[in-house]
Subunit: 904 residues, 2 copies
């Protein structure tokens, strides 16, 4: 028989999988000898069995009986007995805290008869009937799914009829009447009488907790928080203690340090003569812990002792719920406290200073996501704000500006000194200049991995996407907002919050990020401009942990940088080189036509002319980047343009030509352009003529680019510089492709070397972004000086779906069905794509031990993915310049958490 029920005295804090977070911590406190009311936890196994079978397992009822009788014996009282009844609370408690679920039913065990017993034993009939009233209300709402408005309506009516303003001003008579009215509501709304059987109440509440695991709200919450759907929740059944038994009773919440700012020193709220829900409801003003000290020094002393014991035991900031019942302290819950990103950094270094944890451990107490939050300016939370809609928070930060509908508008207004938000239905590579010029980006379509989201995150630009309430008419330059009358135009200012997804009408005040100042300008400057002590301590903490991360990490961090600007940003943020320079990105915007000419060239002469135009442009870009990256490696990926991104859209052009022909105004140039577009149209451009395939089939393409790199390097060498380019061939499927490309590249390097008199034998490697390259990596390595894993494409081909197509069609559904924990484009799919990376690393190193391995996909900046890359022995990750500090921190954490990665 599976063990479904654990007494609090049986478990410990490491059993969160089985007992949930709350249950495990109750057990731990019990084990520590702290004053926890007796009770037991029903396991997540029981919940999963219930969810699988649609029924509570038989064994559970039996085990609950046993545990309940033990508690009853210990206390000498019986659940819901007419005299001196034992009452219990039932609380949900999953492994991870989940606001989406049903949480609590208090006072279980009260019924028409035991309420009298409670009145008698407590000597407080008002308290007893108020407790019964609360039970029916909570039970009705959370177990029987009755709209809470019915109960609060009756309560308000009662207060009105009695001429009182506050709940606790209602007397026994009023409460007795209210109980009858509540029971009538239950009968009417749920079609049953309020259950009088105490055990029945307990069982129904337990089942309701189980059921609440699968509510839509819970699903949505888990999806957002990346919590697996198959964990299930535990249920905690705990003897009731009462903070509302008069002036010597009360209830509170406290923290061992300030979870908001991270200041040291205890922190908490206390409410006299109240139950927990009163604190949450915020009906009365709470007192501080200092007030408790003067009210009840004994309980205060006990609480401080418990706080110290818990912080020492958990070695972290603890969050504690407590109740004082007639002068006796009870601890109802504790956990390692949630905290803001700033508090996380400050508390971590404080604990180091107090010798409670090591600096290594401190590093594990902060995350890259927290650092990201600190890097963005944020809206100050004071003042009026007019919320237009809430959508997907795609790239954090806070941005305010006029609406701009296209590149031209965004650039012109930005140049005129205005701040603008680029608002588009969706974005594509053409919108890049507008995105660069804008303070933030807002789209009406697309998810977290849409073009807008990915590019904005790469640039560290605030972005909200998928705001479906917006109807963007770029031609008319208007935005209509669902449910509102006004039509927004370029004259309207909006504010977008990339951390919450909120979109406001009008300006909202923005506070600068001291951490960003630190990351960009260094410690001294940041401290000088920090303003208050909180910011100064925060900066110092971040600096200490960043320095420690840099010291312990084994993974090097490079940046993806396509332009000299990118390269400069990367260096400022601590990048140790460029891991990916996408040459085709040098040709977006106004240079796009040069690449188009190359694609459209139909004769050798045309093609050579197109190449000749590109050479000096590329050489200059490379030379500038090499200047910035002096002495540091700079991996240049030879051009990999998806043809269709550089050509007009087939459907649009076909329509134009057909309509123009119909109208008799057909431009012959359009017609011949259409012929070319049709010829080079691919049914599946992701699987078409790209990467190495294009390089090998289009004569001169490799030579042009390698020459540009080589000549730029010579220019730098002549100027006394130390250029370290590494040449990377994209989309290799077979060693032969690399071999041919390598031969051609080496020939050019040798040629330019001979012309200049310099040794230009730069490393030549390839991307591993096709399953075939991964699975044949031991061969491919024979021709490669290094590998760089392109995990975006590798994800597409390993799963066989394209990012463009899946986001809208089924990824959401798949996350709901727990097929993905999260989109594999966001965080690396360890079992599948990760296995490919592992095969690639192992194969490569079996041929060349110690061969350099990098990662240059989006995943290079993702915290979970970085830990994985560390674990398989990758040498460096490359990510957008903005994410370099995050990658440095996460690489440090990975080194501490798994010090010895697999190496061969």
């Amino acid at each position: 028989m599976p063990k479904y029920v654990y007494r609090f005295s049986e478990g410990d804090k490491d059993q969160k999988d089985l007992l949930g977070g709350k249950g495990a911590n109750l057990a731990e406190m019990t084990r520590l000898g702290l004053p926890v009311p007796p009770g037991f936890t029903i396991t997540t196994d029981a919940c999963r069995a219930y969810l699988a079978d649609g029924a509570v397992p038989d064994e559970l009822a039996v085990q609950v009986t046993t545990a309940l009788r033990e508690v009853e014996e210990e206390l000498g009282r019986e659940l819901g007995a007419p005299e001196d009844p034992l009452l219990v609370s039932v609380r949900s408690g999953a492994k991870f805290s989940m606001p989406g679920m049903m949480e609590t039913v208090l006072n279980i065990g009260l019924n028409d008869s035991s309420v009298e017993g409670l009145a008698e034993v407590s000597g407080d009939a008002r308290f007893a009937w108020d407790s019964y009233r609360r039970l029916i209300q909570m039970f009705g709402k959370t177990v029987l799914d009755i709209d809470g408005g019915h109960f609060s309506g009756a309560l308000d009516a009662k207060k009105a009829s009695r001429g009182v303003a506050l709940d606790y001003e209602l007397d026994v008579d009023a409460l007795t009447e209210l109980v009858e009215e509540y029971k009538a509501i239950v009968r009417e709304q749920a079609g049953i009488d309020f259950p009088q059987d105490p055990r029945g109440q307990l069982d129904m509440a337990t089942e309701a907790v189980f059921r609440s695991w699968n509510t839509e709200r819970a699903h949505i919450y888990r999806r957002r928080e990346k919590i697996p759907h198959d964990l299930g929740t535990a249920v905690n059944v705990c003897t009731m203690v009462f903070g509302n038994m008069g002036q010597t009773s009360g209830t509170g919440v406290c923290f061992t340090r300030d979870p908001s700012t991270g200041r040291s020193g205890v922190y908490g709220d206390y409410l006299v003569n109240a139950q927990g829900e009163d604190v949450v409801a915020g009906i009365r003003n709470t007192l501080s812990l200092a007030d408790l000290e003067s009210l009840d020094p004994e309980s205060y002393k006990d609480l401080r002792a418990a706080m110290r014991k818990l912080e020492t035991h958990y070695r972290d900031l603890c969050d504690i719920e407590f109740t004082i019942e007639r002068g006796k302290l009870w601890l109802l819950q504790t956990r390692v406290g949630k905290r803001t990103a700033a508090a996380a950094f400050r508390v971590a270094t404080q604990l180091v200073d107090e010798r409670l944890i090591t600096t290594d451990e401190a590093l594990t107490r902060v995350t890259g996501d927290q650092l990201t939050q600190l890097m963005f300016p944020q809206f100050s939370t004071t003042g009026e704000r007019d919320l237009l809609t809430k959508a997907m928070p795609a790239s954090p930060g806070a941005a305010v500006g006029f609406i701009a509908f296209d590149n031209a508008e965004a650039i012109a207004r930005a140049e005129a000194g205005e701040s603008v938000i680029l608002v588009r239905r969706e974005t594509n590579p053409d919108d890049l200049p507008g995105m660069v010029a804008a303070s933030g980006v807002l789209t009406a379509r697309g998810g977290k991995t849409s073009h807008a989201a990915v590019v904005a995150r790469g640039m560290g630009k605030t972005c909200v996407c998928g705001a479906e309430a917006l109807e963007v008419d770029a031609a008319a330059k208007t935005v209509r907002v669902a449910g509102r009358d006004e039509l927004l135009t370029s004259e309207d200012i909006i504010a977008i919050d990339g951390t919450t997804g909120e979109v406001f009408l009008g300006s909202v005040e923005v506070a600068d990020s001291p951490v960003m100042t630190y990351l960009r300008r260094g410690l001294e400057t940041a401290l000088d401009s920090a303003g208050d002590i909180d910011n100064r301590e925060l900066i110092t903490s971040v600096d200490r942990l960043m320095r420690h991360a840099d010291k312990v990490r084994r993974l090097a961090v490079r940046a993806n940088a396509d332009t000299p600007d990118d390269a400069r940003h990367a260096i400022h943020r601590g990048a140790e080189g460029v891991g990916l320079c996408r040459t085709e990105h040098m040709f977006l915007g106004e240079r796009k036509k040069f690449v188009q000419n190359l694609i459209l060239a139909s004769t050798d002469a045309e093609r050579e002319a197109a190449l000749a135009v590109l050479l000096p442009l590329q050489k200059d870009d490379f030379a500038q980047m090499m200047t910035t990256m002096n002495g540091k490696p700079m991996t240049v990926r030879l051009i990999d343009p998806p043809l269709h991104e550089f050509l007009p859209d087939l459907t649009e052009l076909s329509v134009k030509v057909a309509v123009d022909r119909e109208k008799g105004v057909l431009d012959p140039a359009d017609e011949s352009l259409l012929a070319v577009v049709r010829k080079s149209h691919e049914a599946n451009p992701m699987l078409g003529l790209r990467g190495a395939r294009l390089l090998l089939t289009m004569p001169g393409l490799i030579e042009l680019q390698v020459r540009a790199i080589a000549e730029a390097a010579v220019e730098r060498l002549r100027a006394g510089g130390d250029p370290r380019p590494e040449i990377m061939i994209p989309l290799i499927g077979s060693i032969r492709e690399l071999q041919i490309a390598r031969e051609r590249a080496e020939a050019v390097l040798a040629e330019v070397g001979a012309e200049s008199g310099y040794d230009l034998s730069f490393p030549i490697g390839c991307m591993i972004e096709l399953p075939r390259a991964a699975v044949t990596s031991s061969h491919v390595a024979e021709e490669a000086d290094f590998f760089s894993f392109g995990t975006n494409d590798l994800t597409q081909t390993t799963w066989g779906f394209s990012r463009d197509d899946v986001e809208t069609s089924f990824v959401g559904h798949y996350i709901d069905e727990a097929i993905f924990g999260t989109s594999p484009f966001e965080s690396i799919d360890v079992d599948g794509v990760g296995a490919m990376v592992r095969l690639g690393v192992e194969g490569g190193r079996s041929t060349k031990p110690g061969m350099k391995m990098g990662v240059c996909g989006e995943h290079g900046g993702d915290p979970d993915s970085i830990a994985f890359f560390h674990s398989v022995g990758i040498d460096y990750v490359s990510c957008s310049p903005f994410r370099v500090p995050v990658a440095r921190l996460e690489a440090g954490r990975a080194a501490v958490l798994a010090p010895e990665p697999a190496r061969q």
Copy 2:
């Protein structure tokens, strides 16, 4: 120093890689003590070194000198010496015979001075000058690249001026003049004097052989024959012996059995007083070997003895070139003889009967490709034929019929009893009904893996594709042929040869295939209708080897069958079950609209209505197939429709709507259809909403199909049948997808089982066609009863290119560059895709030892691929019904060639 030169006495027949086929066999004959003129072979290593460096390696010249001096010493003569000169021939000899290369220069060593010596020593001045004339002619053409027309023109002029008709009627004077004229041609055309230095002639000829490896013709030949481009050729230098030294001399070719029909008994041609080139030129009528016996019984006896020795030694039909010089027999070349497909089968069984080989070995002497050839009717080769063009032979056979331009025409005329050839620019799934109705298919676009080619091969329908000389105007119903005046119409008859790629105007006589009769109707019927003894012996041989293949093979052979008709064909050809029934193929043609309704459904009600229409159709199809497949497994793949194949084309529809709008005749239905098409349009449909993804996101789709299968099975069970369906989920990436699909399928099986009272727990498995499924196969196996590898999709995702896109854009180039040996869609890419299959098999069996593994991609019918599947422990292959016999034969061959596959 690498050894670049081998005397004939140094090598043996197993050194073909190094010495080429010809050189290895010359060495072998030398080793056997047969009369081979002394000589030596320059290795393929030397050729590769030459090709890599663009220059003959230094060491080669030295080693040639040594070998040549040894030959000179042995014979007591010197190359090109003025008196009694040694003459040699230089012949190319690659590992595989390659008509695309330069082949032979004879009489090297002759010059203005040694020609006199030869005249003297031979006592035949005419012979000497004729030999010199031949040298200059061959050398000029093959070494100096002079157009042969110059020489033959001068020869013809000389004959005319002397009033003679035949070459050998020219006297010494005429030949002496001709030599001067030839030398003038060389001077004029090549810009050099004909080289007088004998060793210089030898070196130039050697280099010319090396160079000829890379001619375009050679490239094309290798590409067609799947010969790697990096092998290089060897060069054989052999002392000249002369068949043209009078009536006791001659030259001939013989075979130890008839290579054309396979009849037993020697076979050959002999020409008195002639050199090899005269035989080839066909100037004079040749004699038979029987004539030689009477002319020169001694030499004949020697020859028969050599033939017997060689056949016994090679244990196979040998092809021998010989020369008799003044009554002395010399063997110049031997090899295992090429033979027709029919001869291959007959010779193999003859050798078994003669106890020269075992039946196992006999099986290795025939191939699936040969069987394929025998299965098709062929054009009889007699009679006039008017060749229109020659294109890609895509699916073998011979078909004659009227031109039909579309489905309607093809079907109508076929129903009216006419034979038609469907002629299209290219085909798509819409053309299927027309392809079914037609006798053959001809397209102007597309390669061997285009839609037309793949489908035609699947149906065993004759197909020629990529006939770029044809300009097909389907609207006007005309075909224009490049270089011809007449415009073909539906009233023209054409004939297409799927084995040669030839397209003829007018009817050509077709001969039936006795082997096909055997495969379809069995041995007795085939023998009864066979006609002559050759056909009867052929049928018997095929039957013996097929039966032996069935006995020894471990791989089971199933068929891909989408309709009851397919299933019947499959059974007749020996299929042991259906390995792939593609349910979506049940909905092509006029049923297509039902699937379209399903895709277009926007409400639950519409979708359910669409599903309800499909259910009875599917059930009937399944029931019919189960009747045919009674007692045999039948794997049904749940629907996997590429959405775009069932919807109108976005571009075409957009153009229509725009133009109609412009004209003011817009149909609102078109407009709303366009909205749906636009919404479901995918940038990369191959990587879009397909397979398991569609099944899991579209409610009811799994249930419908499983219910159709289950109800069909119940119908069969009630009728006393033995239905054995296996349910297969397509395009699985993760175990979770399979788990969910499986649960839903099992629920329906249980439901129909309960309704009917039958146990319907049919096996449920999945396709492994994504790299992720292969790499996580040990997990996936937990939910799968079997795996079936979909090697088409697995090839697309492993390589990251789509069949639709690559055929035209770079596969040809990649084959030229030796990146592929052959298109990976034709024959499985063992290193890459094969590695995925291996991972899949190993992973699956690590979880479930002995788990059933099948293959159901196109590769299931490809000979090379079958051998690979056998070697990795696959249990069955599934291919088109037509290819089932081929697969059976190849599976038998694989079992003999690699008896113990890797098993776990």
